[in-house]
Chain length 339, copies 2
Amino acid sequence: MPELRKDPIVGRWVIIATERAKRPVAPRDEPVASGGLCPFCEGSEVHTPFEILAYRDRNTKPNEKGWRVRVVPNKFPALQIEGDLHKRGDGIYDRMNGVGAHEVIIECPFHEISMANLSEDNIREVLWVYRDRLVDLKKDKRLVYGMIFKNVGALAGASLEHSHSQLIVTPIVPISVQEEMDGAQEFYDYRGRCIYCDMNHQELATEKRIVLDTPSFVSFAPYASRFPFETWIVPRNHNSHFENIQKNEVDELGTVLKTILLKLETALDKPAYNYIIHTAPLDSQAVPHYHWHIEIIPRLTRVAGFEWGTGFYINPVPPEQAAAYLRQTEIDLTAPSRR
Amino acid sequence: MPELRKDPIVGRWVIIATERAKRPVAPRDEPVASGGLCPFCEGSEVHTPFEILAYRDRNTKPNEKGWRVRVVPNKFPALQIEGDLHKRGDGIYDRMNGVGAHEVIIECPFHEISMANLSEDNIREVLWVYRDRLVDLKKDKRLVYGMIFKNVGALAGASLEHSHSQLIVTPIVPISVQEEMDGAQEFYDYRGRCIYCDMNHQELATEKRIVLDTPSFVSFAPYASRFPFETWIVPRNHNSHFENIQKNEVDELGTVLKTILLKLETALDKPAYNYIIHTAPLDSQAVPHYHWHIEIIPRLTRVAGFEWGTGFYINPVPPEQAAAYLRQTEIDLTAPSRR
């Protein structure tokens, strides 16, 4: 059973996950394995654990062909769904059992390595799957946070190239999320407004960090970007929980996400990247101070090793320059997709 | 002039440093350049900016041969020493000029790429140089924090292989340091003791995470290790500021640091790594709740991209296993050093 341990100084929880040491990661900075059998491709269903959810064509059976988007447990999970938390002390330290969920969202049945090459409808279905999984896991009262993220490329921590995302659901709120919630609460207490709504407002007014401006979303390079070409997609409609997203927003977000990813891939020659959906804890009510959004972080330089460890970031590309470059980057949304 | 910008949500300051974009970093994950002219080697003094400090043999001149440890300004500085802070708002955002210092500590005149291969005396002189620089920069009232760190290997962000460390001095306290100070203060307010002293006590009592136990230092794998083989060196004597280190401690730390680095290099086949000296702000008095220490973080896996971005760490190697392995790793401290 993996274990959750708390750093006694800063309160950060860490997953000590012995199972994951067994997974087939390439050591050091070797490229992501390609070629050979891909366990995420249609026809390889037997090579993954049983599916948790799939959007399927009519008259097809679970764990067989016919799916469009498929969710399976991670074969080398960081957390396990069975058991109770058994919170306990260890001298001055605190720990609990590593109860939670670790799922893989396989985004397409064919071997496509870039989400940007999926059709807008395909991306919309992936977004609906994200929502469905969060709504389902919300029922489990042991679990309080659902973090959806994507690693693309070896530098971003991916070990398989077939386009996929991951969901880690934890019994505690991750410290980065808690810090965001606290900071946003403080701003709200002082100004009476949501900081993210304020950011949308200022970004739209000044325009210089805007990457894409659409009816329901503002996509921009944040003022204090940690990384070159860091890009946030923030809904205009105030909503603290991603799982409360509206249908018109999913429709538009499919296009926005594809556009931003295509721009990043074109401008930066298919960089490794991570995206993370920042959303309020599963067990919280809708709040006026927090605002869900997506943060996309290209992994362009090796410079960040030290910065990541200390919270002390040095970014050589001003966000105004990055945004201007991405705005000018031409892409073809009508290029043929695999579906 | 580089700019310091504050993230309005979590309060993290970021250096937007346009000068550094020009420096010769290898793109993506290419190895650190080796061969060719090394600007840090003896005889290449003309290829660095003028030295700030050097420990030299008698009758040798600044910026010529004869130095043993040498400090120069970083040629591509993240911050600049001239000018005033000019703190100002930008709508809801905050910023100030990127005033500060960015120095390189060249640890030896010959082309040695591993600090572990330097003699214990050489390492002691490097430690004295760290102290001298902090004491000197403390006089500048614009500057409040001095962060000493080392990047080794491409995966850890190094762009030159000749053994060196860096010092970044900032006009604000980095958020990771502030969080540590706050967490330690909270513990002190509640329990009336220093959390680091308590950790030393518990680690020595249980022994299972100890890597090395010497008269003045406790070296251990921390309970909530974020990374495999993460190792902390904590002085037994309570002291919040590294620059107040005693002579007997420097003498011993030379041996302890060489031992730990040799063990990590032997056990993990010369991994990329970072170390960071965690110390209290330059402008603060000695405090009872904070305790300077060194954190060494090997960069073994590519898995951490996502974790570093979110504060949500998954560590596949329990610290008890890592410590046991390092304890058993035999090294030869008497192997010939270059000096």
